[in-house]
């Protein structure tokens, strides 16, 4: 992943989301140490304060925990929290967008459900 400066989404949120995805993908397991703010700054050419803010957001949400002077580590509940958050947050927002777009385009509910089923079937086939 590369930081997208044009997304308008604050970079610290992009950083937080990137680490979440890494955790979901299994690149970081429970009690693994994640990147430090300086490593993140270096990786993405961003200000370390911004990277720190991304890590702090995850700490506040109990996805990471800090050990004084050692860095940030993945909590046991991390995966569950991220999954829930994305379901309630990102997925919900996406569905709202979909509903809005469907309304604009005059797509019927049945048609929309059908499209969704097809999309799921396609992913499962992959």
């Amino acid at each position: 992943m590369v930081i997208d400066p044009n997304s308008g989404k604050p970079i610290y949120i992009q950083i937080a989301e990137w680490i979440e995805t890494e955790i979901l993908n299994g690149n970081f397991e429970t009690d693994d140490k994640v990147y430090s703010q300086y490593q993140l700054a270096e990786m993405f050419t961003i200000n370390p304060a911004t990277a720190a803010k991304g890590l702090n957001v995850l700490t506040e949400e109990n996805i990471l925990y800090g050990k004084r002077g050692l860095g940030k580590f993945v909590t046991k509940e991390a995966k569950k929290i991220i999954t829930n958050k994305r379901k309630n947050g990102k997925l919900k927002a996406l569905l709202e967008e979909v509903a809005l777009e469907a309304e604009r385009l005059d797509v019927s509910d049945e048609e929309l459900f059908d499209m969704l089923r097809k999309a799921i079937a396609k992913r499962e086939g992959e």
Partner: protein, 296 residues
């Protein structure tokens, strides 16, 4: 420690207030962006901080010292712009040698590696370099001097896109290794915003906004929707920017905490973030009107 303190700092140049009573405090070891239109006072502020220009009134302190003609400020701060000139008789190699003698923290290894990376020749003359090459060379001096305060005034003038990218990466990596205070002014906020921790937006000699970069990204939201619905909603709120797009559509930028956003969402209007660069343009153009007003 407080790095810079300005209190009601004013600078008159030929009867105009280039800086008009600005007050702010900068803390140490941050990368700060100084953003504003041409003539907003960016260069004036930087030259005062570097000790080259004298304030007309108010107070200014750098490292708790008054900067004008101050030797401590001169030894611990460097101002880099595209007007930097050197004696014609000195070669680029000579200039680096001299810089090393003057700056106690000079990083010779870094200077040489950057010099080679950008394929400079030690026997070249500074005057003979193109604009972009001059900027690149000056940047090397700015970084390698490792001053406690580094002021980059439009450092990427004339550089091509890949060198600009290299510059920001070099700046960040060096900053990570040796945290210090860096102030960069630029027209290209979209290019530098990632490496900035905070920005100072100045307009007409005044500090318009002083925020962390993250706050700025969440400062405002853009709404686009049908003019006849959106327009009445905007009547009682602060609107940062408004323009009509196509027939019957309006795009408006409002503060992120504005009640209009929720209302607009209920109408199903598209709501999105505003790029910091655009936002700065909108904010500083607010009182003057845009280019479109000229053609009305």
């Amino acid at each position: 420690m407080k790095l810079v303190e300005c209190d009601n700092l004013t600078k008159r140049i030929y009867g105009n207030n280039a800086l008009d009573g600005i007050t702010f405090t900068l803390h140490e070891n941050k990368i700060t962006g100084l953003i504003g239109r041409n003539g907003a006072g960016k260069t004036t502020l930087m030259k005062i901080l570097a000790g080259y220009w004298r304030e007309t009134s108010g107070t200014v302190k750098v490292f708790s010292e008054r900067p004008f003609q101050n030797l401590i400020v001169s030894a611990n701060a460097i101002y880099v712009d595209d007007q930097m000139t050197f004696h014609q008789s000195l070669t680029l190699g000579d200039i680096l040698e001299e810089a090393e003698r003057f700056y106690p923290n000079w990083d010779k290894g870094l200077a040489e590696r950057l010099f080679d990376y950008f394929s400079f020749h030690p026997k070249s003359k500074h005057d003979a370099l193109s604009k972009g090459r001059k900027s690149t060379f000056n940047m090397i001096i700015g970084l390698a001097s490792k001053c406690k305060l580094t002021l980059f005034d439009e450092p990427t003038t004339g550089m091509d896109a890949s060198v600009r990218k290299d510059f920001y990466r070099a700046l960040l990596k060096d900053y990570l290794a040796h945290p210090r205070s860096i102030i960069i002014s630029s027209h290209h906020l979209e290019e530098i915003e990632d490496v900035l921790e905070e920005i100072i937006l100045i307009d007409e000699g005044k500090v318009f906004l002083y925020q962390s970069m993250d706050e700025l990204k969440e400062y405002a939201q853009g709404i686009s929707g049908k003019t006849d619905i959106l327009k009445p909603l905007l009547d009682d709120v602060e609107v940062i920017y408004k323009t009509e797009i196509g027939a019957g559509n309006t795009y408006a930028v409002v503060r992120a905490n504005s009640p209009v956003i929720e209302q607009a969402r209920q109408y199903g209007m598209a709501i999105g973030p505003v790029a910091p660069n655009d936002l700065c343009i909108y904010l500083t153009a607010k009182h003057k009107g845009g280019i479109d007003d000229v053609f009305k």
